[in-house]
Structures are given as structure tokens and as C-alpha cells.
Symmetry: C2
């Protein structure tokens, strides 16, 4: 359990750890800048988010029979974005020519910036518009049957408050990885589907958590009286939304395809209907932070000179931990030990796991220092190859969660690790 005195302290410890261990990077990270996405991901963060993306994809697309993957444009026409704080994309050469060749006043200039002359579109803020555009072709592919869903994961952009941008040139535009599902169902089943997806999504988030109850949901009525659901995580500084489920009816679809409602008609049994829409939109960068905070634990390290020290471990879920195994070596004939390490790593890599090649460093750290580092990286297992291994094939396998070391034969390591991860997936 986490023993730090206060929420602020937990936040500082995690931010520091994540920067030292290359999960995230950025200057002066506050909770505002973390929530705005004003940080970037280091290699461990990238690999962890890749796992998160892949789990989302499996759970929403691959494991179902009724969701199709789509991929839509990053630059959209003006009407595609709901918020007023738009980021325009303009071709520098076009706009220069336009400003210099025409004798326009400032108001005309602004309207022409948004017009055909300079306008290359606006950076997307959400993935909803793209899915609405894909509805008609995918409906055809789907033989016009309801229900079905269209899912996409991709970067979206948002403006960052001016106070976050003081002194920055270029000023920062927020970027975040969004996972979106638009679900088309018959109007009469839309309520049940919202309940279904609400349960499915909340369970998905909780599945990877050490403390599932920190992930919760709450209902919200919008101005038009429609039910929305927020999935939230209890960060040290307060509860923040990581995913939102909205019941958006059918109006957005009919408005967009005005005048061609036959194209929108889908089959609900024998009836022909305009589908009802539900939209799930999750911020996977916030989700990543949530799982990092959730995973942070402290434990007593073995006393050094009689003094007990606390140290941190990131107990990331086995499927989310970026590094599954660190392969390291003790003292002994370096060339031979390295060969064993390389062979074992290659075998583990064949299962698509990201392996940390500690043996390549060429410096020997005291064992406890090594374990401290790998615990902070959330490494599931540490393998220690030693002189012994050359004689009888036995090595040490240390488990992050139990801190226990087992003596294992080199030929059994891969199976043990794969079984551990597979078992955790199924829970």
C-alpha cells in the first residue's frame, strides 16, 4: 500500500519517477499540464500506451462481431468541430500569396482565411465527425443491418489555455490519443445499449487496476435532457473524466446528410429506421496517467546500515507493463554470459514482448539497486544469468510483485512468463 503522507506527495513522487524512468517527459509538470496533455511520452510510456491501445482495440473491435475499424482524416472542414477554439491549418505559401496580392481589409482577411482561399481545414478535436462520414459506406458493407459500431483510435487536438503557453514558441497545441466508438442501433434499443456499453467500458478500465474502485462512473444530464455517462478516475488532486458515453440521438446524422435520408435507412428486423447514435470517447493519455497513479506503491526496502527505506514499485497490470522482462547478468565470463542473455531475450521477443537488455550495459550495479530500478520501471520479471547458468542452466527469476526470487532452468523461463501474462489477461 501507498504510504506517502499526502496526495500532493504522491503526485510529486509519481511525476518524478515517471520522468526518471522515461514514461513521460516535460518541464514543470503540474496536474493541469498533465490533464491538458502538455507532456510527451518517453519510450516506456510509448510502449505502455501501445499496450493500452491494443487492449482497447481487442475489447471493442476484435473480440466483437459488430464493430468495424475506421481511420479518418486529421484535417476537417469547419462544421466538423464543435468547439469554438479551433486550430486552423493553413498552407503558408497560399496564404502569403493571398494576403499580398489582394487588397483586402482585416475583416475580409479573417473571413477569407476561413474560406476556400486559404483554408486547408481544421485540426480535428474529436473522432465523431469522421465516423458520421463513414456511416453510409459502412452501412452498405454491413448489409444495412443494425446494430453496429464504428471505432477508431487516433490523435486529436485541442487548444491549451494561454497560461499554459506563457513563454513558449511555438505555443503548444494540445495533442491526445483518443479512442472512439460510435454505436448505431435502433431507437427502441438505444437505452439498453447505453447501459450495456456503460458496464462494458467501466469493467474494462477496472480490469487493469490495482484499486478498481478508484475507477467509477457517474451520470450527467445534458441541456436537452439526454443521459450521458462519465467514466472517471480518482487522481490524487481529484476526480477527472477519462471517458465519456453520450446518447446523441439521430439528429446529428440527419443534419449532416441532409436531403438524403434514404441513404441513412438501416434495417431493424423488417423495419427500416434511421439509427440512434451512442458515442463513447476515451482519452487514452489520461487513461495512461490513471493507470500509472493506480500502479504506484511503496514498500520497505531491506534495511541499509540498519535504516529502513521506502522505495517505489509500479505494479502495472501484466498486459500494460511496458517491459515484461529485464535480462541481466552477474559477474563471470562476460562473452559467454552475454550469449546466454541474447539467446533467452530472442526467445522471449518471439512472443512479441518488449525485453529490457540490461546485460548490454556493461556495468555491474549492486543487485538491490538493479531491482529498485526495475521496480520503478514496472518490469514484471528480472532474469539474472550467472556463472552458475553456464554450468547447469539454472538462473534466478525475480517476480516484481512478490519480490521473491526463484531458481529456474533457462529453458523454462519463456513458458513461465507467457503463462503469467496469459493468466492475468483472463482474470
Amino acid at each position: 500500500q501507498f504510504a506517502a503522507e499526502s496526495a500532493a506527495q504522491k503526485q510529486d513522487i509519481l511525476t518524478d519517477l515517471c520522468q526518471r524512468r522515461h514514461f513521460i517527459s516535460g518541464d514543470g509538470l503540474t496536474y493541469t499540464s498533465l490533464m491538458q496533455g502538455s507532456h510527451t511520452l518517453g519510450p516506456l510510456g510509448v510502449e505502455m500506451r501501445r499496450s493500452l491501445v491494443s487492449q482497447w482495440w481487442n475489447s471493442v473491435i476484435l473480440s466483437r462481431e459488430d464493430v468495424l475499424p475506421i481511420d479518418t482524416l486529421h484535417l476537417l472542414p469547419r462544421e466538423a468541430n464543435l468547439s469554438k477554439s479551433l486550430v486552423m491549418a493553413l498552407n503558408l505559401e497560399h496564404i502569403k500569396g493571398h494576403i499580398l496580392n489582394q487588397n483586402v481589409n482585416h475583416e475580409q482577411l479573417i473571413s477569407s482565411l476561413q474560406g476556400p482561399a486559404g483554408n486547408c481545414g481544421f485540426l480535428r478535436q474529436e473522432l465523431l465527425y469522421g465516423a458520421l462520414m463513414e456511416y453510409a459506406p459502412c452501412l452498405e458493407l454491413w448489409n444495412k443491418k443494425l446494430p453496429f459500431g464504428l471505432a477508431e483510435i487516433g490523435k486529436c487536438f485541442h487548444s491549451v489555455p494561454a497560461e499554459e503557453n506563457v513563454g513558449k514558441n511555438p505555443s503548444r497545441t494540445g495533442e491526445r490519443m483518443v479512442a472512439s466508438l460510435v454505436w448505431f442501433s435502433s431507437p427502441k434499443t438505444s437505452g439498453q445499449w447505453l447501459d450495456f456499453w456503460h458496464r462494458q467500458r467501466l469493467q474494462w478500465w477496472q480490469k487493469f487496476a490495482q484499486t478498481p474502485s478508484d475507477f467509477s462512473s457517474s451520470e450527467l444530464q445534458d441541456e436537452e435532457g439526454r443521459r450521458n455517462t462519465l467514466i472517471q478516475y480518482r487522481f490524487p488532486w481529484g476526480t477527472e473524466t477519462i471517458e465519456i458515453l453520450c446518447n446523441i440521438g439521430d439528429s446529428v446524422l440527419t443534419q449532416m446528410h441532409s436531403g438524403s435520408s434514404t441513404k441513412l435507412q438501416a434495417r431493424d428486423g423488417r423495419k427500416s429506421v434511421i439509427p440512434h447514435l451512442m458515442w463513447v470517447s476515451g482519452n487514452l493519455d489520461r487513461g495512461l496517467l490513471a493507470f500509472l497513479f493506480d500502479a504506484l506503491q511503496q514498500r520497505e526496502s531491506p534495511p541499509i546500515r540498519g535504516k529502513g527505506l521506502r522505495r517505489e514499485v509500479l505494479k502495472l497490470h501484466p498486459t500494460l507493463a511496458p517491459v515484461k522482462v529485464a535480462v541481466d547478468m552477474g559477474t563471470g565470463p562476460a562473452v559467454d554470459l552475454r550469449l546466454v542473455c541474447q539467446g533467452l531475450s530472442a526467445e522471449l521477443r518471439e512472443h512479441g514482448m518488449f525485453i529490457w537488455p540490461g546485460y548490454m550495459e556493461g556495468t555491474h550495479s549492486p543487485m538491490e539497486q538493479l531491482f529498485t530500478r526495475y521496480d520503478e520501471m514496472g518490469v514484471l520479471f528480472t532474469v539474472l544469468v550467472s556463472e552458475n547458468t553456464l554450468e547447469n542452466g539454472l538462473l534466478q527469476l525475480r517476480n516484481r510483485d512478490t519480490s521473491l526470487r526463484e531458481t529456474v532452468h533457462v529453458s523454462k523461463v519463456t513458458d513461465l512468463v507467457v503463462q503469467h501474462i496469459t493468466a492475468a489477461k483472463k482474470l
Copy 2:
């Protein structure tokens, strides 16, 4: 073998097929618009590109011990982009305020558009700059040892020639999926590394091809006398570059981090050096098109009313084929058959495969029509569940490449399919 009379015909046939089968979409696709990336991907194209991305990631990052994954910003400062044809990202509200509140002339306006006032950065055209920014922190993570690589896959943006944009509002900005590796090595081994990566990359492309010789490489000297290598594919209309390997020396790194060259020093054995850079940049959207053209074959279909017909099959490599298995049912008790189909599909999906639920359509197509459709979709195997299956568990398994149907027990299907794909991966 492909029997179409001319290259132009092959192009038409493939474009038509890919649109009908939801690999790509777009209006009036010419080879220019395809190369510019003015199309979008349909669900089958999205899933196929996801496989391509995952194969690239496995081959360049996961299967190696010396490459780290990174993820960098989409919006960059001006100096990050090499080409002059930049796409600026501007915050609409900021720029409005700026234009209206200040009494600037047009020249001042242009320079201020690019200045701190309006400038939110430029859309990235390549992934090189981001990797250079990540060099110093990743060097530290890597214990300062050479060689190592930084790899990223992400969207990049490019201006589209005006003639491709006639009548489009907003005008289209080109988007493409780029896979990039920046390789840092000691100056004296840089030549060998270029050769190594040249071989590695060319083999990678050829590995998935029906006609590997259509993927080739050629050398090119740039203005400064440095060797570059292009990896190309022979499209029906001519040879096009799909990936480029450049030897870019060390100047770009020292320029960028001017004044802090100690930060750049890496260890090469016992010496301290500024690394030499090699950059691999592949366009995975072009790569996808290359593999689609490569996979297109025609075969005689069984004569209908005495008349032989040619039909198309996409012989996509088993790892790239978006749909691994289509599960369909014949006539019989619909509810029972559907249950069998669902159970089998769920079992196949557990292996992360994208399964086509033909049984959900509720309409019965003649068998040959079904096979024609699935061949065009590049579906590896078609499973046909029938009344027979309910009695003795036997079903029909049809292989795309041989057109042969086997009678197989329902419990054996998953193993057969998984073995087929695993075997193809290892070749």
C-alpha cells in the same frame, strides 16, 4: 497469374475492387491521387494497415535489442520542417484578435502569423525532427552506448498540388502513415550499418510479396555526395519509392543542439564520439497499395452457362490479409447454425484475428458468389457451417489460395488456421 491486358487495366481493376471491397475510398482515384494519398481507407484497409504497422514494429523494435520506441509531437516549430510548402496551425480565436486589434499592414501580418502571436506550430512533414529531439534523453536511458535506434510510426502531412484540389473545400492536405527509424552509430561503422539496414528493409518488404522482384532498391547520391538508398515498388504505371534510407552524418544533430555538444557525446567502446545518423523513412500507405497491387491475381471461375469468366483474388500474405476467416452458414435451422458460427468465431477471435461474420447477414448467396466476394476481400479461409455440422461436427473449410474445400471437424478449425498463419510468418 494476372492476365489483364495492360497496366492501365490492372490499375482500373484493382482500384475498382478496392473500393467495392472497402479497402480504400475516394472519388476519381488516379495514380497521382493514390501516390499523393488523396484517398482514405475503408475498414478492410484500416485492418490491413494495422497488420503492416504491427509487422514493421515487430521487425524494427520488438525483435531487436537496440531500438527504442518514441512518440513525438504533430505540431512542430518552423525550423523542424525542411520543405517550404508548410502547413501552419493557427488558433482561430488568437489570430482574429491579433488581426483586429492591431493596425498592422499585410507584410507585418504575414510575419506575425509566423511569429509567437499566432503561431501554434507547423504540421510535421517527417518524423526526423522528433527523433533528434529525443536523442539526448534516450541516450541517457541507453547508458550512452552506441549504436542504437529511435523508431516511430505516425501521421505526417504534406501539401497536395493545386490541381489535385480543384473544387475541394476545404482543400485537401495530404496525410500519410510514416514509419521512421533514426539510427545512431559510431562514424566508422556507419557505412556497414547503412548496408545492414538496406538489406534488412528490402528483405522485409519482399517477405510479404507474391512477386518479390517487384520490390527493388537503387542507390542515389545526394548533392553532398552521400549515399542514399531508395526502396521501390513497380506499380503498373511505373516505379515509385516506398521507403528511403539516408546517410545524414552528424551535422543535423550538432546544429540542432548547438553549444551543447557534451550532451551529444556517446560511448563507442572506450571513446567518446558524436554519432553518425542514418535515417529510414517508409510510407506505409504507399506500401499498402504496393501490397494490394502485388496481391491481385485473376483466375478462371467455373464456367457459367458454358462461358468461362475471369475473377479476381487478392492473394495477400497471411499476416497482412485483414480478414483471416469468414464464417458463413448454409441452409438449415438458422438459430442452431448461428450458434455454431458464433462459438467458432469467438474461438478464432481469441487469437486476435479479424473474423468476418458472414452468418449475420441473414441472406443466402449462392456459394460461388460468396467465394468470389471473399476472394476479392483477400479472406484466407472460408468456413461453411451446415446442417451436417449439427449432426457430426463436420464443416467445409475453403482455402483462398488453392480454392480447395476440405471437410474438417469444427474443433480443428482454429488450430489449422493458426498453424497456417504461423507457418507463413516464419518463411
